[in-house]
């Protein structure tokens, strides 16, 4: 079976490259880029986030949802 034709995606974790980018549940601006339009957390295979940072991202998003900073479903507009 021929390998599926996949487009190349950068395999570098953006949080490892950019040390200034802090994952924090209070900082919705950063987290907003890591969820889909429907508010789902994007799997790490898409952005190439490393395991450690993806864990922190998931935690932060879930905390932000509890505080109604982000929505459980649907887009977050600010």
């Amino acid at each position: 079976m021929a390998p599926r034709n996949r487009t190349f995606r950068p395999r570098v974790c953006r949080f490892c490259t950019d040390k200034e980018l802090v994952i924090d549940y209070k900082d919705v601006k950063v987290l907003r880029n890591l969820v889909t339009e429907r508010g789902k957390i994007v799997p790490r295979r898409i952005y190439g986030t490393c395991a450690r940072h993806q864990r922190r991202v998931t935690e932060a998003i879930k905390r932000a949802r509890q505080l109604a900073l982000m929505s459980y479903s649907g887009s977050t507009q600010y």
Partner: protein, 158 residues
Amino acid sequence: MRRYETTYILRPNLGESQITEIIDRTNDIIKNDGGTIIDLNRWGLKTLAYEIKKEKQGHYVYFDYTAHGSTVEEMERIFRIDDQILRFLTIKLADSIDQETIDNEIERIAASAAAEKLAKDTEEAGEEKAAEDTEKAGEEKPAEDTEKAGEDTDRNEE
């Protein structure tokens, strides 16, 4: 002693005095049990991402403090009883904290607050110059954001 941070959301229809009263009351709980308040920040009235107890907006109050676990438990019990508090979230930041770190943190936060205030004052004083600066900053930042957002949506479509 452990270091915690708590954010709570108050009902939007409260007056300034009522908000201050609730904040003072919570701070007293911490202080009376031997804790210290490191930082207190009011985020003001924000729109909630979803309705909580039929409210669409809420006053956010954030504070950073040291306390014993039992104190936090007691504070949260009172939060649960109080009808004015829509939601709260406590996060443990550190398992132990010594007096030196507390003092350093308080100093650091006070310094950054002072710097912010100074920036604001100079902005008001030298209107022309400051206005130019903020305009530049304003132009640069959103442009970056939209670029990033554009990237993300591209990837989503793939």
